[in-house]
Assembly symmetry: C2
DNA sequence: ACCAACGGTTCAAATAATAAACCGATAAGT
DNA sequence: ACTTATCGGTTTATTATTTGAACCGTTGGT
């Protein structure tokens, strides 16, 4: 990787749970020489991707990201367009709805909507990326990627995040094959023991899957009727978002969804 | 400037009016060798700051900017927090309200709100940056910067954008001195002949001016009562936004605003 | 069939990135 | 008050990366 990539990777060190980082910490976390890190941070600050907060001299994400995002949304409405649909999905199901996009081979949550139906909910505040093998969103996306991409993901160590996390590549392949046919991914307690989730893929204008929309529910209150209802509502949301993006659902999935909903 | 800076400057070539750019064009616009440009673009794509659209192989801003912006907003609510106030300002004045932030020594519009009161309005859709000397926002911000910053800006060639654009550094300094006292910048036809605008500075937690909020009005329908009303409303909006940001208005300005409103 | 321009690649030469040591300041421990 | 450790930031020769002219295969227009 080149210098630019290293500099940009610095941005990934800043997460929701660790938004402020000092120079030395940053160098350690990024495994960079302090002087190197300093130079890179300087350049990122010059552009406004990072900024130094006046008091403690720590760094955080800068204002330029807002400008870039505003411009991206103006040309390719993604987040803003999907937000209302996501909120509707959360309201209709009484659970947490979220949308994720593939970014540089990593699946990242981009927007979350909560329901106020229950006092307990699945929170996504601290989630910076989703493992492909242990989330319904991950499986939903993976089921529509190239063989090379799938192989690369399943070759990585598959962390057992909960007792019911599937970590056998062969079994995962079976599940993916099923999802590719049905267009819906369901996972029970694979990410966290008490969380059931369900996801459908989202497609761009070329019919490529670029993300997923998902409902994450508290397992203990999931009746089979609710699951059926959630599945139908989720498919509707998936259709809407893909349509809003100017994308197109592949015919096979469109028909599979039609019978499922 | 280092390689990282060059790569990031590529992002600035993408504007609202030119959102899709091919490799050769990009190299020309950025004055880079095509091979160099290609490598940098690759790295930006790898990170997701750019993406290549499937059909014409052109590039555009990528999905990563959304993730970064979401995280920044989560920690430092800036745009989302100010948006309602901006809309209220637009409604109350019947004109276009916008907010700009200094990013890497350039003043960039970050959010715009339009009024539906009139069929004609000042549009900001295609504006990527604001000249310091020829906009009320620019002057409002400049009036509260360090002498070094002001000198750097006034040393640059001051483009005469309209017949009434002030391009004499000495005269501009006089105006800045006045704005520093009053806390309000007003400009008539300096950016476009038929546009009057008014702006107040916005401050961060350290009392540093980091941006401005402004009203841009069609000059022909500005009565003196409306100007007075706009000034009062604008000052209110400036106070609110600064407060929401956790910023603090310097005492001198606070009192100047009190007498003006 | 031709030509020009496109996106992308190659490789020697030029330039920029790197890392160890260092600096002054600040804070904690004794 | 003295030591010690760590902080953000700087300097330097060494090193590795970036650079750009030329080149390739493709595409679209004439």
């Amino acid at each position: 990787m080149g210098t630019v990539g290293k500099a940009l990777e610095l941005l990934d060190v800043f997460t929701r749970s660790r938004p402020l980082i000092g120079l030395s910490d940053l160098a350690r976390l990024a495994q960079l020489n302090k002087a190197t890190c300093f130079r890179l941070v300087q350049e990122l600050c010059d552009y406004g991707l990072l900024e130094q907060v006046g008091s403690s001299r720590e760094y955080r994400l800068g204002p330029s990201v807002l400008r870039l995002a505003a411009q991206r949304e103006a040309q390719v409405p993604t987040r803003d367009a999907a937000m209302p649909i996501l909120q509707e999905l959360a309201n209709a199901t009484g659970e947490t709805a979220h949308m994720s996009l593939i970014m540089a081979s990593v699946l990242r949550p981009l927007a979350v909507a909560y329901s106020t139906a229950y006092a307990t909910r699945v929170t996504m505040e601290d989630t910076d990326s989703l493992p492909f093998h242990a989330t319904s969103s991950g499986l939903a996306v993976l089921a529509f990627q190239s063989e090379a991409f799938v192989a690369a993901q399943l070759d990585k160590p598959l962390v057992k995040l909960a007792v019911r996390t599937e970590t056998n590549p062969a079994n995962l392949r079976d599940r993916l094959a099923h999802i590719t046919k049905s267009g819906v991914a369901e996972s029970a307690g694979a990410y966290e023991t008490d969380v059931n989730s369900m996801a459908v893929p989202l497609f761009d204008a070329f019919g490529s899957c670029i993300g997923a929309v998902s409902v994450a529910a508290i397992a203990s209150r999931q009746s089979s009727e609710q699951i059926t209802h959630t599945r139908a509502t989720l498919i509707q949301a998936g259709r809407k978002i893909t349509k809003l993006w100017g994308g197109s659902v592949p015919p096979a999935i469109a028909t599979a969804w039609q019978t499922a909903a």
